[in-house]
C-alpha cells in the first residue's frame, strides 16, 4: 500500500527495547506506513505517549515526540493540539497507561473531541512492570503475583467506554494484520475529531497465550455506523476480538471560538478608576 522506503524515513535510529515477537513492532511499522501514505512532514507530526513498553514508541520515530509520564499521554497531547492546532497529533500507549491510571483523560478526551488520534496497544497486561493485570485483563488470569487468583473483575471495554464517552471515531485493529491497521490509522488521522484505535498488540513475554490471537481475531462483520444505539448494540454483543471501523460520527470537533480582538493595553485600562 505505501512505499516502504518512505515509511522507513519516519523511523528514528533508536533501537526498540521490545522483546522479540512483541506486537508493538507492527504498530510502529503501521504508524510509519500511515504517515508515509498521508505524506505528513515529520516536523508537523508529534507522537505523544505515557509510560510502558508500548509508550516507548515516540523515540522510535523521526517526528517530534513526547515520552511523558504514566497515564498522561492524552493530556499532553491535548495541550499540544490546543496550542498548535495545525499539527498532526497522535497519542499512543498501553492499556495500563490509557485505561487504568489514564482512564479519566480517556473519558474526557473522547468527549472533548479534539482533532487527534489515540492508539492504545492493548496486551491485557502491564508489560513494562513485568506482568501485572491491566483493566482489560480477563478476571481469571492468574499469572500475576498481585492477583494470584485472578482479578475477579470484569474487563474494561475500551470501545464501549469510548462510545459512551462520546468518541467520534472508534476502531479496533490487530498488530497481526499490519495492513488493516495501517488503513485504520490513515482513516483515524483523516477523521476530523478524536479518533480512537483499540490496537490488539500481544505481549509474548507475559501473555504467551496471546500468540493464539491470530486465530481468534476476525474482521468486523458490519459496516461502520454513525448511530450510537446500533454501535452500542453491536459492542455489547461483540467478543472484543473483531477488527475494523466500528463507529464514526460527525460530532463537531472542539475549536477555539473566534472573538473580537483586543490588546493587553486595553485590558490594563479596565483597572483604571
Amino acid at each position: 500500500m505505501t512505499d516502504l522506503k518512505k515509511a522507513k524515513a519516519y523511523k528514528s535510529e533508536v533501537k526498540p527495547i521490545w522483546c522479540p515477537g512483541c506486537g508493538d513492532f507492527s504498530v510502529l511499522s503501521a504508524l510509519t506506513k500511515a504517515f508515509a501514505f498521508l505524506e505528513l512532514a515529520q516536523q508537523d507530526l508529534a507522537v505523544i505517549s505515557g509510560i510502558g513498553c508500548s509508550s516507548r514508541i515516540p523515540a522510535y520515530l523521526s517526528s517530534y515526540g513526547f515520552h511523558g509520564i504514566h497515564g498522561r499521554a492524552l493530556a499532553i497531547a491535548a495541550g499540544l493540539k490546543l496550542a498548535r492546532p495545525e499539527l498532526t497529533v497522535v497519542a499512543a500507549g498501553g492499556d495500563g497507561d490509557g485505561f487504568s491510571i489514564g482512564g479519566n483523560h480517556f473519558l474526557h478526551a473522547c468527549r472533548r473531541n479534539l482533532d487527534m488520534t489515540y492508539i492504545v496497544m492493548d496486551n491485557e497486561v502491564y508489560g513494562m512492570t513485568k506482568g501485572q493485570a491491566s483493566p482489560t485483563t480477563h478476571p481469571d488470569w492468574t499469572a500475576s503475583k498481585l492477583t494470584p487468583h485472578g482479578t475477579g473483575v470484569r474487563p474494561f471495554q475500551p470501545a464501549a467506554i469510548a462510545l459512551a464517552s462520546g468518541a467520534s471515531f472508534i476502531a479496533r485493529a490487530f498488530s497481526g494484520d499490519p495492513n488493516g491497521m495501517t488503513k485504520l490509522i490513515i482513516d483515524a488521522i483523516k477523521h476530523p475529531g478524536f479518533s480512537f484505535i483499540h490496537a490488539l498488540s500481544p505481549c509474548p513475554t507475559f501473555r504467551p497465550e496471546q500468540k493464539q490471537w491470530k486465530n481468534q481475531v476476525q474482521k468486523y462483520e458490519h459496516e461502520p455506523t454513525d448511530d450510537p444505539v446500533i454501535a452500542a448494540t453491536r459492542l455489547y454483543s461483540d467478543d472484543g476480538m473483531s477488527t475494523g471501523l466500528i463507529f464514526q460520527s460527525k460530532y463537531p470537533a472542539w475549536h477555539r471560538t473566534d472573538v473580537e480582538q483586543a490588546s493587553i493595553t486595553q485590558f490594563e485600562e479596565e483597572f483604571l478608576v
Binding site: Y64, G65, I76, A78, L80, R84, L87, F267
Partner: protein, 577 residues
C-alpha cells in the same frame, strides 16, 4: 504623619444578602476617586450564598498594602455568627461601632473591646425609602465620617447598580444620602486623610494582577481546574486570552491541566496554570516531568490554609515547602513570590520570562490575601517586551541535540514545525540527544546541566527587595512583606532602625547575594505565616544566618499585622541587650 496615624480601617459586616461586600467595594472605588489608596479583604463564611460576610478595608493617603492591627470603625448590619469573624476585627477603646438598635444585643466578644457603640436606626431609615437597603445607608454614614465626597459615592453607586435599573439606583442614592446627612457627633480619631496628589489609580486584585502579568509575560495557553482561591486568575484570563489569540481550557482535573500545559509549551506556546495547595499536590509529578524534559511553564499557586482541604477561603504561607521541595528526585526549578498585590503583575511576568529563558517550571507563590484582596494602587510602569526562549534552528543533518550540554546549561529548544530537529522529549534520564540512558555519566551530565542553568543565571536585583539599613533586620517573603515594611517604618519612627529583606526568588537560593544583604546584620527576625516555621527552616537550609535569629511564625487565617511584628522585634532587641 506616620503611616498608622493616617489610615482608616473599616469593617463592614452583615449576614447573607445584607450587602456588606458591596459597600466595601463601593467605598474602595470612592476612595480611589478621592485620591486615596486602599486595600480591601473579604471574609466570608463557608456558605455559598448567604451566611455572614465582612468587607475589611484600610484606606490611606499613601500606598497601603497590609491590614492594620486594629479597626477604627465597625459597621455591623447585624450580629449573626459574630463569633466567626470577631477575631478578624480587633477593636479597642478608640474604635467606633455602628449598629442598628434592632439588631439585638452586641455579642460579648465584641463588646469586651471597649469600643464606643453608636446605635443608629439603619433599618428604619432604609425602610422609609421604597426599595431602600440598609447597606447604602451605611455607605452614606461611612462616607460622611471619612469626609469623602458624596459625588464620588453616587458615581460608585450608579456604575455598580446601573444594570439593575434606574429605580434601584435611585433608591440606593436616597439611602446613601439618608446616611450621609444623618447627624451624629461621631468622630473618627483621624477624620480626614490628606491627599497629597491625585494621580491615576488602578483598582485591582492580586489574582487579576497575576493574570495580567502572565499575559504581559507572553502566556497564551492556560489549562486549569477551578479551585478557591485561585479561580479568579482563570476568570479574568479566559475571556481575555481568546481576544489576543490564546486559549484557556478548563481541564478535567489538575493532572490534566499541568500535563496539558506541558504539551502546549512543548509546542512552543508560553503556558501557565493556576491552582492552590490541593491542586499543587496533584501537579507535582507533572512539574517534575517539566523539570526533566526541560519544558518551561508557570504554576501560580494561590496558597490557602492547609494542610489538606484546610481553610479554602483564608490565607497562609504554608505551601512554601511543597513549592520548593515537592518533587521527587533532584528537580531544580524556580519559585518566586510577589510581595504585594501590584507586585503580582511584575513577579508573575518575571516568572514567565524566567521559565521561558531557563526552560524550566516556575512556581509563583501567591496567597489568598494577595489574590483575593483588592487594592487601589498607582498605575505601574509599562513592561518591556516579553523575553522568549532559545529556539533551535532547522537543520538538514542529524546534528540536533535537544539536551546538548552548553555553557549556560540552556540548550536551544526545537519546536514542532522546525525541520530536521524532530526529537522526543523525555522524563526518563537521557543522553544529550534525548535518547533514554541509565548510564551514570549521562545522569550526572544532565543533573549538572539542569542545576547549572539555574545556579549560573544572573537573576539581577529582583531576587529580593531590601529597605533600610542597620544591624537589625527583618527577613520575610511574599504577602507578609507589607506588614514587615510598615513595622519597620513604625520602629524607625520610634528610633529603632530596621532593615527589611524580602525574598522574591525563593529558588534557586542566591547565596552570595544574601551574604551581602546580611553583612553587618547581628539580629534577624524571621517573619512568616506558617505554623511549622517553613521559611525559617528554608533560610537555615540555604543561607548562613546571623547568630541571633528570632522567628515570628504564625499560621493563618488572621493576617500578620505591623504591630505584632514591632512587638516581636522589640522583644528580640530587648532580649539581646
Amino acid at each position: 504623619m506616620s503611616v498608622q496615624n493616617c489610615t482608616h480601617s473599616i469593617a463592614i459586616t452583615g449576614s447573607g444578602g445584607s450587602g456588606a461586600i458591596t459597600v466595601g467595594n463601593m467605598l474602595l472605588q470612592q476612595a480611589a476617586k478621592n485620591g486615596l489608596y486602599g486595600i480591601m479583604r473579604r471574609s466570608v463564611g463557608p456558605q455559598i450564598r448567604g451566611g455572614e460576610s465582612a468587607a475589611l478595608l484600610r484606606l490611606s493617603a499613601q500606598p497601603v498594602a497590609c491590614p492594620d492591627d486594629r479597626f477604627d470603625l465597625l459597621v455591623a448590619f447585624d450580629w449573626n455568627n459574630a463569633d466567626r469573624f470577631a477575631l478578624e476585627i480587633p477593636l479597642d477603646s478608640k474604635s467606633l461601632i455602628i449598629t442598628d438598635p434592632g439588631s439585638g444585643s452586641i455579642p460579648d466578644v465584641i463588646r469586651q473591646s471597649g469600643a464606643t457603640v453608636i446605635e443608629i436606626p439603619l433599618h428604619s431609615m432604609a425602610s422609609e425609602i421604597s426599595g431602600g437597603r440598609i447597606n447604602m445607608v451605611g455607605l452614606g454614614l461611612i462616607t460622611s465620617l471619612l469626609n469623602l465626597s458624596a459625588e464620588t459615592a453616587v458615581d460608585a453607586i450608579t456604575s455598580t447598580l446601573v444594570k439593575k435599573g434606574k429605580e434601584a439606583v435611585e433608591a440606593s442614592v436616597n439611602c446613601f444620602f439618608a446616611g450621609f446627612n444623618y447627624q451624629t457627633d461621631l468622630k473618627l480619631s483621624c477624620p480626614t486623610l490628606v491627599v497629597q496628589q491625585k494621580t491615576a489609580r488602578w483598582n485591582i486584585s492580586g489574582n487579576e494582577a497575576a493574570a495580567l502579568g502572565a499575559l504581559q509575560g507572553g502566556v497564551r495557553f492556560v489549562a486549569a481546574y477551578p479551585i478557591t482561591p485561585a479561580s479568579e486568575v482563570l476568570e479574568w484570563l479566559s475571556p481575555r486570552l481568546e481576544k489576543i489569540g490564546g486559549t484557556l481550557l478548563q481541564a478535567e482535573d489538575e493532572l490534566a491541566s499541568i500535563n496539558m500545559v506541558v504539551g502546549a509549551s512543548f509546542g512552543g506556546v508560553t503556558s501557565l496554570t493556576a491552582t492552590s495547595g490541593p491542586g499543587l499536590s496533584l501537579m507535582s509529578e507533572g512539574i517534575g516531568l517539566a523539570v526533566a524534559s526541560e519544558i518551561p511553564l508557570v504554576v501560580i499557586n494561590v496558597t490557602r490554609g492547609g494542610p489538606s482541604t484546610g481553610i479554602p477561603t483564608k490565607s497562609e504561607q504554608s505551601d512554601l515547602n511543597i513549592a520548593i521541595y515537592g518533587m521527587h528526585g533532584d528537580a531544580p526549578h524556580l519559585v518566586v513570590a510577589p510581595q504585594s498585590i501590584s507586585d503580582c503583575v511584575d513577579t508573575t511576568r518575571w516568572a514567565v520570562q524566567l521559565a521561558e529563558t531557563l526552560q524550566t517550571p516556575a512556581i509563583v507563590l501567591s496567597d489568598q490575601f494577595l489574590g483575593q484582596s483588592r487594592s487601589i494602587t498607582s498605575v505601574p510602569e509599562s513592561p518591556g517586551l516579553p523575553k522568549t526562549r532559545v529556539i533551535a534552528k532547522a537543520v538538514t543533518d542529524s546534528s540536533y541535540q535537544r539536551y546538548a550540554i552548553t555553557d549556560s546549561g540552556v540548550s536551544p529548544m526545537a519546536i514542532p514545525g522546525i525541520a530536521g530537529c524532530g526529537y522526543t522529549a523525555d522524563g526518563l534520564e537521557h543522553k544529550a540527544s534525548g535518547q533514554p540512558s541509565s548510564i551514570a555519566t549521562d545522569h550526572h551530565d544532565q543533573l549538572d546541566k539542569r542545576q547549572h542553568k539555574l545556579s549560573s543565571f544572573d537573576f539581577g536585583e529582583n531576587w529580593a527587595d531590601s529597605h533600610g539599613a542597620g544591624s537589625v533586620a527583618i527577613i520575610t517573603w511574599g504577602s507578609t512583606t507589607a506588614a514587615a515594611l510598615e513595622a519597620a517604618q513604625r520602629l524607625q519612627q520610634m528610633g529603632q532602625p530596621v532593615k527589611v529583606i524580602s525574598i522574591r526568588l525563593l529558588a534557586p537560593a542566591q547565596v552570595i547575594k544574601m551574604e551581602n544583604e546580611l553583612a553587618g546584620i547581628t539580629q534577624l527576625l524571621v517573619v512568616e505565616q506558617s505554623h511549622s516555621q517553613q521559611f525559617y527552616h528554608y533560610l537555615r537550609a540555604h543561607y548562613t544566618l546571623p547568630v541571633n535569629v528570632s522567628v515570628y511564625a504564625k499560621p493563618g487565617p488572621l493576617p500578620i499585622t505591623p504591630g505584632v511584628i514591632c512587638n516581636a522585634l522589640q522583644q528580640m532587641v530587648g532580649e539581646a541587650s
